[in-house]
Each structure stands twice: as C-alpha cells, then as structure tokens.
Subunit: 314 residues, 2 copies
C-alpha cells in the first residue's frame, strides 16, 4: 500500500454555537456567545455556524441568531453560516446578512418523518422553494445542503448509499451551491466514510464540501481521516465536543474542534488555527457550561512537546 | 485518491492485564484476573499479555504472572505473552511456558536512561544476552521487541525515525522473531504512523508485527487506521482503555480493546471477537476497578443497530 498524499490545507467550521448549544437545555447569554465568536476568530477560525433561524419557541437557546450574525459580519474574512429549517427561516437568513444558509436533509425516511413529518422528497421540494426565494430576492446568500443520517439512523437502521446519491443529485440540480455528508448519530465507520465520500464526490465533485462527524462511538477522528483521504477539506466541529445525543447519556457529541485542530496540526496540515488559543477559549466556554457533559482529549492531556517540531522524515 | 484495500483479518492482543494493571495502584485479585482471561477468551480474543516478570517488589500488582500463564495455557489456541525486562525475567518466562516474551526497547535515550539507567544500545546488548539464553536452553519461546517511545517522548521530545530503524535492524540481526512500534506517551499522529510503519516495514517485512497505540490525545484509533493502511494487522489494546499516564490525570490510556474491536467490526474486518461479549466482560472488569479512571466510547454509547448489517455498497 502506498504512502498517502494529504491535503496542504483544510477548513474547520465551528458549529458549537448551533449544533452544540441546541442540545443543551440552558441558554448561553448572548454576551458569552459574542465572546465565543470573537475568541474563535482570534484563534484563527474563519467559518462559524452561529445559530439557527428556527422558531424561538422551539429552540429558545438560539433565539439571538440575528444578533450573532450581525456581530460576526463585523469580523473581516469570517464566513458566517446559519441553519435554516424552512422558507420562513430562509427569509430571516437572507435578512440577516449571513453568507451561507445550511439546509438539513435527512437521508433516512424514518428520521425525516419523525423530525419534520416530511419525507426526504418533500424536503427536496421545500429546498426548491428556498432556491426560488433566493432567486426572487436576488440574494447573494449561498446554500449548502447537509445530508443528515447519511451513514445510518437510530430509527431506521441502515441508510442506502443510493438514496444519499439521489438526494445529492436532486439538490444540486435545483441549484444549491454545495452539499455535505453528516453522520448525525455516530454510526459511520472509516470504510463506509471513504466509500460514500468517493461515490458522492464522483457525482458532486468539489460541490461535496463538508464532512460532519459525531464521535458518539469513538470513531469521529478516524472518520475525518477517511474523508480527508478522499479529498475532503472542510469539517464541522464543536468546541468541547458538545452536541451529544439525548438518547445516549455521557456519549460524546460532535467531533471536538480542539481535538480536530490538534489532529491536523500534528500532521502538518494547515488550518490557520492556533491550537493553544483555541484551548484557552475552550477553557472559557467550559466555565460557562459548567455542569454540562463536555468532551475532548487534548484539553485533558495537553499538547505534546513535539507539536511545533515538524516531523520531517530524516 | 484511490479506494483503499483493507486487510481481511486482524488480531487484537489484550494487554490490559499487564500495561493496564501496572499503572493502577490496587492489585486485582488473581481470581479476577483468571476470570478476565477466561472472559476474553470466550469473547474470541486469542492473544493475551497476561503479566510481566518484573521483580514483585517493583510491581506487586503483577506478582502472580506465573499463575496466570499456567492457567492461560489451558485454553486451546490461546497465544500467551509476558513482558520481560531483563535476563532474570527471561529465565522465569521460559520456566513459565509462555509462548512469547515481549521485550521493551525505548528509542528515546532520555526515556531509556530515566526508566532503566541504560542507553538504547545497552538494552540491545541485553537483548543479545536474552537471545543467547534462549538458544542455550533450547527454549521454543518466541521473542518480540516493542520499540517504545517510537513516535516521541515526554522527556526528550522528538525521536528520530532513523534511530528507530537502527534499533529494529539491530534486534532483528540478533535473531528476535518480530518487532512492534509503540506510541508509549500518545504523541503519534496518523501521518507519522503511516510513514514510520512504511519505513520499518521496508526493512523488517512481516517481522514488523504490532502497533501499540495510546489514546492520550484522542488519536488512538486514527493511528490504528494509519498503521492498518500500511499493512499492519496486529494491535495491542486494553479493556476499558486503562493504562494511562500518571502525569496526565484523566487522560486516556491505551486504545480500548472494545472500541478497537468495534472499529474493526464496523468496517467488516474480521477479528474473531464477539463485541457484545467483550462489552459484557468490560462491564465486569469495570466493577472490579470501580473508582479507577476508565475510558472507551462504545461502552457508553452502545452498539449501533447497523453493526450486524454488513455495509455492502449497492
């Protein structure tokens, strides 16, 4: 087996303010969220999903999303994303000045019906309406569709790769800008990740532009590596690995941003992130979230002495 | 980048009874250790490092190693290993009837001097004496040298790959049967693992026969994957991820056997292990070690519904 070629550079998108905080009952004050965005920016992060335009009654934790977008847009070169669940949310996203709206589309029929009372095809039809709405407004906002439960589902079990491919093709034909693949429940394994990313890349090309992995069963970073090897260069992550599943108490949530940043730094793959600064921010966020179930290895073990010594093979 | 070819079959060697228990202050009663060996065997594990022939004064936790070897040798097809630190230990290992003796050889001068007050070259000279002693006795015991701190060292920092290669060549020329590479302190990253395993395999061939990874900084399974991709098919692991470093409280220890078994099962790589049975044993061991810092993701999250549905791409 041959030596592998790694990308020179990858992007970590911080999604803790959305995917992380929506799974935590308490509402983090807006002031703390602004500090989080500022701190992530100062640590070198250049893409942040700051919140979601869901009805505040459903997720009061994310009710200040418009304020966060407005602040984030004052930081030069920061790419600001928001999750959007429907047409009304899309209108608010376009009003807000966000750069990207992220639309979830579950590949599992059971998950889609349970969460949204809609089949995946019905959600695709809604995405068509959102693309139309963007065109009607002449908005410059860009659209990324995240295919959730792409690697399996706690309700349905197996999800067919063919279904994922069909959904990807359908939304790209509608005119969305890019797609990502999400292991929403932590079912993916590295082999499956490598195979599905390769298959989707064959139809989506560079429009396949995000891997979103959970570390529920400990395979988060191994799955990132598998996607990286297919050429994927953008990954979602949550500071302190928040975003766990309520059905698995104590189980890990999203891949931890600081662990992912450390992984890439250790390999000499550029992220633009200062891992030590990110760890300082993590310590601050951990104080704000005291009592919540946090995760991540590097925060406990500390950076190795060798991190800043590039491992050039002699 | 091309689709990867995975090995059909790999071996997990359970080393919790040695590398794990030696880092825990309490002494697990011999009866529990026998149940652990029996349970691991029933779960399908066929290689176990049952203990170490170090002076009982130094590691009273492992003083019953001879008893454990005798019991383990009653289990058909079980390959029984013991760690051996010196000639006296080697004599006891040969007396015991163990199949393999595992000899540690630190590639870090600083680590070697701090632990053994000997340079790596002096340890190589001792290994020569052990090989001679085996020949003198006509013993059938086999010898594996584990190159510890092969990926870096908390004391010394960087460890040169060239040093590792020299040590591997030296011990193979002495007539040891095989070698392994150990990330003793959790400094390795996947790129480094892939490169060093490839370089060592170029000189050692199939005599490079073990990857020993710690999960201290969360990269344990990613590093296993990187070694697997170079053709490595034997990995050490500790049930419940015990074997942490006393200098990093709360940090993970060895790769957890049950997580590693789950990783391979999820990928369809055969280990012969029944993961559910291994998880039941882990629950038992966790009871015995109540109060100790245990690790592992799959024990908390549970097996996915899809595990027994092979992921054949449609």
């Amino acid at each position: 087996m041959n030596a592998l070629v790694w990308p020179q550079q990858v992007t970590i998108r911080e999604v803790g303010l959305r995917d992380g905080l929506q799974s935590i009952a308490r509402t983090l004050p807006t002031g703390h969220k602004l500090q989080w965005i500022q701190g992530a920016y100062e640590a070198g992060i250049r893409e942040i999903e700051v919140g979601s335009f869901v009805p505040p009654k459903l997720l009061p934790q994310l009710a200040d999303t418009a304020t966060l977008v407005a602040f984030a847009q004052t930081l030069p070169g920061l790419c600001v994303s928001v999750l959007v669940p429907n047409l009304k949310g899309a209108e608010r996203a376009m009003d807000s000045g966000a750069d990207w709206m992220l639309l979830p589309l579950s590949a599992s029929h059971a998950h889609s019906l349970a969460n949204l009372r809609k089949t995946p095809d019905q959600v695709v039809a809604e995405i068509a309406d959102l693309v139309d709405a963007r065109r009607a407004r002449g908005s410059a906002i860009r659209i990324e569709v995240g295919i959730s439960t792409a690697f399996g589902c706690t309700l349905q079990g197996r999800v067919e790769p063919g279904e994922v491919l069909c959904l990807v093709q359908a939304v790209l034909e509608l005119g969305v800008d890019r797609v990502g693949l999400a292991d929403t429940v932590g079912y993916a394994d590295p082999r499956q990740v490598g195979e599905l990313f390769a298959r989707v890349r064959a139809v989506a090309g560079d429009q396949l532009a995000c891997g979103h992995f959970h570390d529920t069963r400990g395979l988060g970073l191994a799955n990132v590596m598998a996607a990286l090897q297919t050429g994927e260069t953008r990954f979602d992550a949550c500071l302190a690995g928040i975003g766990g599943c309520p059905h698995a108490p104590g189980a890990s949530g999203n891949v931890a941003s600081e662990d992912l940043a450390y992984l890439f730094a250790s390999m000499g793959v550029a992220t633009g992130i200062d891992v030590a600064k990110l760890l300082a921010l993590r310590a601050q966020v951990a104080q704000w979230l005291a009592g919540e179930c946090l995760h991540g290895s590097i925060a406990q073990a500390g950076l190795p002495r060798t991190l800043h010594t590039p491992e050039v093979m002699a």
